[in-house]
Amino acid sequence: MINILRAEWLKINGNKWTTGFLIWIFPVGALAIVGFMSLFALFSPSFRENVHPMLWTDAFATPWSFANNLFGRTFLLGFTAVTFAGEYQWGTWKNIIPRQRRSLLLAAKFINLILLILVAFILMSLIFGFGYGLLSRIADVPYGPERTDAAIRDFLNDYALQSGLTFISVIIASIYAALAALLMKSILGGVIIGIGISVAEPLLIPAGLSFARMFNNDAWKHLGRLSPHLNIVNVSSWAKTDQGIAWLEPTVQLFNQTVSVNGLGFSIAVLATWVVLGVGLVLYLFQRQDITT
């Protein structure tokens, strides 16, 4: 498996423009932002006066949320689409499929791209956290909270949850793009359909409400509870406020049981189910697919 991972890495690393523009742009962008801000703060008193205090806990954790917004996600979808659909577009599946099991080829792709994205986000988080610390020092604004054992412990917990959330979010985005790429067999098609699925998926919430009204059945109202987007938001809410999102009913009646649906466990279970089913579906389709390019 190490050899397959290295082969996949050779591919990803060799495609420098794509990897640079779609992945390394995150840490490089962070470096550029804090670098310019620090330079401005060094040389411009008026800029220094306008630097707002920030919590270091936020500065380190906030960059992770980039993966969950449409802008950040588009880059990740693009990268995943290139990783999967590129093989069709370059006609290279035929070189490697006879040499290795399809499931391992797919696994190597998922592992490499997720690790690469996580490394990029860790770098971005570190650059942003330490960079804003430097900026705060130059501008002479507080950069709290005080680094007590309790504060660091809380931060590490939140940070782990936030990065774990990004991890799941990246996997789900990868699944969308991989599915789109397998079906469309083109990079552009993969990106467009991937974004389409990504945008459409949160619409499960209003769709559920509409179906409930249309079919006069309240069970439909809970359709949105199965949306990865809603559950990612819920987990994120738990990470930040120690409670689930408040704007939906906290429990639903399911098979005469009252189920807490904004609990952390429920959301993690839903997300894990999506990941398992999604990866399974990608694998199933790829195993059955005829490679004609």
Partner: protein, 329 residues
Amino acid sequence: MASDSAIQLLDLSKTFGRRQKQVKAVRGINLEVTANQVYGFLGPNGAGKSTTIRMILDLIRPSRGEVHLYGQPIKQNRTILQKRVGGLVEGARFYPFLSGRDNLELIGRTGGFYDAQRIETLLEQVGMADRAARQAGGYSTGMKQRLGLAAALLSDPDLVILDEPTNGLDPAGIQEMRLFIRELVDEQGKTVFLSSHLLSEVEQVCDRVAIINKGEIIREGRVADLLAGQRQLHIEAEPLAGVTAVLGDHYSLTHENNGITLAAAKEETPQIVRKLVANDIAIFQVRSQRQSLEAFFLEATGERAEEQGSRGAGESVSPPSSKKEVSDD
């Protein structure tokens, strides 16, 4: 099951699409390729050659039937494909942003047989050593074919499957490739399964040949056996229209080199000459020659009749219905 069988195709079929849009690309092929020979796979465009090769390499799932490699069904034992087979499929393609050398490394690592020294040796053998550091995106078709051959041989496979390997090569490259393919079999003891549209090449390189048309194998055998008895008569006479009128009902006639060529055994010559003389036709030359594989192939696939038809009525000398059948082996 024969132990020296490299490839066995058992009732192999592939249908693409569903319902009205169904295309039957391969229809119940049965074929056995024994080890240590060059086996030619011939057929016109769209005959099902590449689909068959892709099914052998597990790129396409058969709709029916099985592929056995070295006696093992690949469906149950894919390791045999990964370990003992190397393939170059229809137009070599590579990651355009990687060098030729990196592309080979990638394939080697994927298959778990990466060996830097072997890559260098193969690059030297296929004449790509001095260009291996360049990005594959800038390679010509011929260079890609050479690199594709190196990729196919990377794992030192027992069976090498080459789909149109000489595409894009210049005449010198084609000759080099022919010698290389023969060397693989004669000196290295490998088995080569080769598809090509260059029939003269197949005739020179292959030991056995299968001809596929419209998804079915229509002839199979040793090249020499297939051509044995497939003689042609070339007749130069005046007027040619008279020759057509006399022989057109009995033979498939082709205008060639200021004369008419027809498939006929040497023994039929006196009778044909008598008929022509009886019809006041002046004969300048009658030459018996062995039919080339190309002519045999065109006869077998019915392309000659289509070709004649497409040339126009004036040149078509025999209706397809009156074609003399080439007997089966």
